[in-house]
């Protein structure tokens, strides 16, 4: 790649950006106005409403009569007047009719009881939906507490007892966190959300402008006839998008810093609420993390925009991606979520958690390293994909055909990729509500009914309704022997590395999510359950039902539209997400890739079913009999002979898989393959 060409393109893109007022406003002016504006508006509204509530005269109904000490403490000068009512009912009716702000019910001879030894039960009825009522309730409570204290001291004096007589224990809580740590805690929860949101927004429009925007303006063809390589184009454009999102991020950080800086000139309680101190090294890593977020969003947004046919389509694609991208930052608000295990690899979530740690004053180099490396890998992968799209002639034609395989082929009745995605969305909703309810009712039966009734049955009904060819849509063909060998060899060995990896990245034993999972496993696989039932529920059912949905309906439909690699990866990712556990997304998706390759290479559903059943079945047996595998622990290293045996099995399986002839590229069928 020639840096000079990429730089020339970058300069041109930036010149265009600088001359685009809309982008400039969004990236610099908007954030600079946003925070002071929000602060001013919020504080003004709060002050205005407080002023109104404080100045309003409130009428309080009292029964049976108003004790003078109460009037002397909360009277007209405190904007409170009293009205004696006959009993509680009349008072409550007046409160309901909003004629009074509160009703105070006192015992008869309230003052006399205070002088004796009795306790007076005083009830204040108020309306929490009315601010003035809440204010009066506060005022009355304070006044009555003062009367209570006065009565107590009178009683003590009468009996010549010291004040400490009534206070054998006093309790005081002291906050050792300095104000800046409190500020850090507060900012650590809000700032990542705002920063990531603004960076993503900063990348949004430029990503469209430099890709599909250029296509629409007719300048892309001209650019593509200049001597500049696809990777140089993508690099130049990516740097421009990144610059804009970085400026947006910087403008946000600057604006927030200004607000924090202003805290010194504000009243004490406001100052302590937004006081923040960040160590220089943490500050540096905050900038690095912010830059990484910018790199990632720029690359991903640009890649999506590149394959869109129009700006409108790009926006339609990017908006959900933007929202999905922002979603993990909300997780940061939850207590107990920390940057550990596979969270370090989940994009955006890892950035948000790292930002929170850094703002709160923590600095764990391992976490920084994991986030930096994973971000760079995701960014590079996204850019390579964008360059591949740019290289493809569909970019010129503007037909979005990059994902389509070239060459003529016969189209068999297999659902389209879009229809299959729509179907998955429906299944997902059913699973989320129906599956959860079923499993809450009875875990074992619930899991089985979910698999057969909510996954397999709808899949078959969908294909039938679609009028699809069932054999082609599911890959119901006899598989070649190599694929079966691969399925068996990998199926019986894959649990070992998976288990070892999970042991290394598992949350600690007292982690609630792990405890929940263990309880679920016990209920499903414990020795009180018959082995046949356990194997049916956990091994056979998912192997059949999930394979029909994922490697059948989804993969075959995706293969009709996408390049096999894209189809397999997309299916695997959806398979990972489908398991509805953030920590399991990546391992499950990894398994999904192997299953996808098996299904694609063999052209058949069966090897995947066998693999899936063996893998889950072995997990059942291991969990059920709590087999202790030496070396399977975080502390111990794997034992050599086991590793050798597993490596042999995996190697054999991989050999069989790789040497299996790939389906012909001309794609004799809609699924991209067929083995009649």
């Amino acid at each position: 790649m020639r840096i000079a060409s990429a730089y020339t393109l970058y300069k041109r893109e930036m010149l265009e950006v600088v001359r685009d007022r809309r982008t400039l406003f969004l990236m610099v002016v908007f954030p600079l106005l946003l925070y002071p504006g929000l602060f001013l508006v919020a504080s003004q509204i709060a002050m205005e409403s407080a002023h109104d509530v404080e100045s309003e005269l409130a009428l309080v109904a009292v029964t049976p009569d108003v004790p003078p000490p109460l009037i002397s403490r909360v009277g007209l000068s405190q904007k409170v007047a009293y009205d004696v009512v006959d009993g509680l009912e009349e008072g409550l009716a007046a409160l309901k009719a909003r004629n009074v702000a509160a009703v105070v019910v006192l015992p008869a001879e309230f003052e006399r009881r205070g002088e004796g030894l009795e306790t007076s039960d005083v009830v204040i009825h108020f309306d929490a939906t009315r601010e003035v009522s809440e204010r009066v309730q506060r005022q009355l409570t304070e006044a009555l507490e003062a009367i209570d204290a006065e009565m107590l001291s009178g009683r003590l004096e009468l009996r010549r007892l010291p004040a400490s007589f009534a206070n054998p224990v006093t309790i005081r809580a002291e906050n050792v966190a300095p104000p800046e740590a409190v500020g850090g805690h507060l900012f650590g929860r809000i700032a990542p959300l705002l920063i990531i949101m603004m960076i993503a927004m900063g990348a949004f429009y430029p990503a469209i402008e430099v890709t599909v925007g250029e296509k629409e303006r007719g300048t892309l063809q001209t650019l593509l006839t200049a001597p500049i390589a696809a990777l140089e184009i993508v690099t130049g454009k990516f740097l421009a998008v990144f610059t804009v999102s970085a400026i947006a991020g910087a403008a946000n950080v600057a604006s927030m810093s200004l607000l924090v800086g202003m805290a010194a000139f504000m009243p004490g309680d406001v100052a302590s609420a937004i006081s923040l101190h960040i160590a220089p090294l943490n500050g540096l890593f905050i900038l690095v993390t912010t830059a990484l977020v910018g790199l990632l969003f720029s690359a991903v947004m640009m890649t999506i925009a590149t394959f869109a046919k129009s700006s409108k389509e790009a926006q339609a694609w990017m908006t959900p991606v933007y929202l999905l991208g922002i979603l993990p930052t909300l997780v940061v608000q939850m207590p107990g979520i920390t940057l550990e295990g596979s969270f370090q690899l989940v994009p955006v979530l890892n950035h948000a958690l790292l930002l929170r740690e850094l703002i709160e004053g923590k600095l764990v180099f391992g976490n920084v390293f994991a986030v930096v490396v994973s971000s760079l890998i995701y960014t590079a992968a996204s850019l390579i994909l964008a360059a591949r799209i740019f290289e493809h002639e569909s970019t010129v034609l503007g037909d979005g055909g990059w994902f389509r395989r070239t060459g003529a082929r016969r189209v068999l009745p297999v659902p389209s990729a879009g229809d299959a995605m729509g179907f998955l969305a429906v299944v997902f909703v059913f699973l989320f509500y129906g599956g959860s309810a079923l499993q809450a009712w009875n875990l074992r039966a619930g899991v089985a009914v979910t698999q057969w009734g909510l996954i397999l049955l709808p899949s078959l009904l969908f294909l039938r309704r679609y009028g699809a060819d069932l054999r082609a849509s599911l890959g119901l063909y006899r598989p070649p022997w190599r694929s079966m060998l691969a399925a068996v060899a990998i199926g019986v060995t894959a649990w070992y590395p998976v288990l070892w990896l999970s042991a290394a990245s598992a949350p600690s034993a007292d982690d609630p999510s792990r405890r929940m999972l263990e309880e679920m496993f016990r209920a499903l696989l414990g020795t009180e359950v018959s082995l046949v039932v356990a194997l049916f529920v956990v091994a056979v059912s998912p192997a059949v039902c999930e394979e029909v949905l994922f490697r059948g309906v989804l993969l075959r439909s995706f293969l009709r539209r996408f390049h096999p690699r894209t189809a397999i990866l997309l299916t695997a990712l959806l398979f990972g997400v489908f398991h509805m556990s953030l920590e399991r997304v990546l391992p499950t998706a990894g398994l999904g890739v192997v299953l996808g390759v098996l299904a694609w290479r063999s052209g058949s559903l069966l090897p995947g079913v066998v693999f899936h059943a063996l893998h889950n079945g072995l997990s059942v047996l291991l969990a059920r009999y709590e087999v202790e595998i030496p070396g399977i622990s975080i502390a111990g290293a794997p034992v050599a002979w086991q590793v050798a045996l597993v490596a042999f099995g995996l190697g054999l399986g991989m050999w069989a898989l790789v040497t299996e002839k790939a389906p012909a590229e001309d794609g004799a069928s809609a699924g991209g393959q067929s083995r009649p």
Binding site: A4, S5, T8, L9, K11, R12, L15, E16, R19, D20, R217, G218, T219, L220, Q221, T222, L223, L224, T225, A226, P227, I228, A229, E393, V396, L397, G401, R404, T406, G407, A408, R410, V411, L412, P413, S416, A670
Partner: protein
């Protein structure tokens, strides 16, 4: 251009078993230095697909394009150095001025600042760009835009100039200006390929004409040769006879 053929995938809505669409079906022709070659054909004849294959924007399904003795697809970047390309929709960056656009493309071609300025001066004089050289492209008239676009295609002084209906959006005077310019550039030794569906334009400037219809080259030669072959008195009649032929 030898045996150029280009197929496109059938649209999904065309349903199962649809055959691929053949936009260009075995086209052969060559253009010499200093020659203006006109690709003449009705809309949808395959002119743009042919031009795009010459410019390296589309890959031929079969056949090859040779530019300055080299197959274009073997080394696309090298081929693009010898090639100037222009379409009807100008392809100018609207927020940049013609001077900035010319500079950008000259830089992509590896020109030094001094050489770039020299080229801009020369093109400005040839194409009369001076009055709007520093005005943003979005504020230029159609004629001015097309002149700036031609300057952009010529900024690296390419040996081959490929133009896809360059006069489609222009009035008669602006179109004449462009056609005259093509003559001047051809006289400087450039090979020019230019697609159009206007007979009069083709007749006016082209040294040789290739008539394309339904992806195939129906006839090729000078205007006189085409008239002789069809026994017609005008290019329009000759064209209609060739296009109507089965």
């Amino acid at each position: 251009m030898r045996g150029l053929r280009r197929e496109f995938e059938p649209e999904r809505r065309q349903g199962p078993g649809a055959e691929p669409f053949v936009a260009v079906d075995g086209i052969d022709f060559g253009v010499l230095q200093g020659e203006i070659y006109g690709l003449l054909g009705p809309n949808g004849a395959g002119k743009t697909t042919t031009i795009r294959m010459i410019a390296g924007l589309l890959q031929p399904t079969e056949g090859s394009v040779r530019l300055m003795g080299r197959v274009v697809t073997d080394d696309l970047l090298a081929a693009k150095r010898h090639l100037g390309y222009l379409t009807a929709d100008t392809g100018l960056y609207s927020r940049l001025t013609p001077r900035e656009i010319l500079r950008f493309f000259a830089e992509l071609h590896g020109f030094s600042r001094a050489r770039t300025d020299e080229r801009i001066e020369a093109l400005s004089a040839d194409l009369g760009l001076a009055e709007f050289l520093d005005r943003r492209a979005e504020k230029l008239s159609s004629g001015q835009k097309q002149r700036a676009a031609i300057a952009r295609a010529l900024v690296h002084d390419p040996a081959v100039l490929v133009l896809d209906e360059p006069t489609a959006a222009l009035d008669v005077l602006s179109a004449k200006f462009i056609l005259d310019l093509l003559r001047v550039e051809a006289s400087r030794g450039k090979a020019i390929i230019f697609s159009t569906h206007h007979m009069s334009e083709a007749e006016l400037v082209c040294d040789r004409i290739g008539i394309i219809h339904r992806g195939r080259m129906r006839a090729e030669g000078t205007v006189e040769e085409l008239l002789d072959a069809t026994q017609e008195t005008s290019l329009t009649r000759a064209f209609l006879r060739l296009v109507d032929a089965p």
